[in-house]
Amino acid sequence: MTADRSTIHESDLDIVAGNGLLHRRMFLTAGTAAAAAVASSALPNPAAADVLPVEPWMKVPGSGFVGYGQPSKYEDKVARIWNTAPGTTGTGAARTPLHLLDGMITPNGVHFERSHSGIPDINPDTHRLLIHGLVKRPLIFTLESLERYPRESRVAFLECGGNGQLLYQKEPAAVGVQAIHGLVSCAEWTGVRLSVLLQEAGVDPKAKWILAEGADAAGMSRSIPLAKTMDDALIALYQNGERVRPSNGYPMRLLLPGYEGNMNVKWLRRIKLTEGPTMTKDETSKYTITLPDGKSLQFVLPQEGKSVITRPSPGLTMKEPGLYEISGLAWSGYGKVTKVEVSADGGKSWAKAALQPPLLSKALTRFRIPWRWNGGPAVLQSRATDETGYVQPTREKMIATRGSRTIYHSNAITAWAISDKGEVKHVYA
């Protein structure tokens, strides 16, 4: 295939769906040749008299070493945005700038954060993890003792149960991907299997649930099925290679791959094994899905299959017609993403996007597809399918199923409209 494409010409680019979507392998296998072929015919000639400047930084030594590096000062727009409860500074949610990032991993400084009473300033030397309840031997662990346990790493997305809630609104919110879907992030988490600690404590056969509780001032707590904790739960100590950030649970958090973010209890101080769920505030009055008939779905645990286009998206204006890459993120709390389709004509036709390896279960998956924008109006959408065969629903279908009396677990297809001026805005399509 690569050889075939070495002589590619603009007219040969495979149109695979309406309004200019091109074959997903066009970039991946023939990127250079294709781009060159297009470039030679499409790009304007530079002004003839320009020279390449020799900049000041090319002529004097740069700055010295620092202990902990920071991004370029020119990247200060790559930052979280947040909203807080009245009268508080740290009770609320800070959203990841998905439109300004690429790849599948979220840098720690911009990982999303949902906190219920600010970020506690925890001294790791005095922090304790208590495991008790229906166990043979209640145990207390220090951070130092946990550090001697075998560790493992797991790349996993975390998504707040309230992410995407703006899609339940009647009118499309005039905001971008960060405001709508910025409560999802993905990191490599490293820590100790919770099942190892539970086995040491000796699980009473009557135990079917655990209560996990944080050391923050809210004592944020959730009930979790014991089966999940024995399956793949981690006590995470590291996030992308460094200690878990304070905003994400320092010195230790629970990681439940695929499960609603709120259940991945930060600043973990206590695990109590119980027969049934404790019915905490955050699994009764919050994080439940109220249906049109007034009943509420409870214990909606894994996050559903979902995707969103991050580029282009609102705030990223397209300058001129031509070849672009449409790129975004897809994920499912039920396993791997197996397919992402993209539409440029408001859902009339769809083309398969390339999924960028590694394709990991319960992790963000980056997708990409080339697109020739003709300068006219377009509506971009993405639709994920996961390994269980689940297909991400349209907004219309999601609301037909669940109504719009909830703010949780919104996973509908998001649409971005491109105007003939290249401006991108959120629409319902």
Partner: protein, 177 residues
Amino acid sequence: MSMRNALLIAASGLAVASAVTFAAESPNLGRAATPEEIASWDISIGPDGVGLPPGSGTSKQGEAVYAAKCTACHGEKGAGKPNDQLVGGQGTLSGDKPPVKTVGSFWPYATTVFDYVRRAMPHNESKSLTNDEVYAVVAYILNLNGIIADVDMMDARTLPAVKMPNRDGFVAFSRGK
């Protein structure tokens, strides 16, 4: 057992099946927790009320606690604003207008109110109320919602027996339904 074997067993998902072997060959670096240590941290209260502490309070007593500690965020008589509304909203969960979810209209268990107030409220000084104050302020909120009477005393025996209006309003989720 080597670290490598421990890792393999943990990763294989066979930890349950090999419980006895594993526990014996695990690092075992936790120390035993004493009943006193557990009692000082074990503040969660399930729907059966097990673990509710001694103490009691009435709505009348709770009114004073509420005025001093809660009104600034939750408004007069739980009317809400700037933060969550605690009273009213019954009958709003279905229909066309947005649901008004309060302790009275939505919370399925009175024990959860005790648990949450004791662990997380008041927002700026959580875990500062005495158990009597928590019982009293919970009684006040329940009374404002018309769920218990003025004279009803809330304690470890009476609180779990309170039947909340939306007690049967929840359905366990299963995918595809």
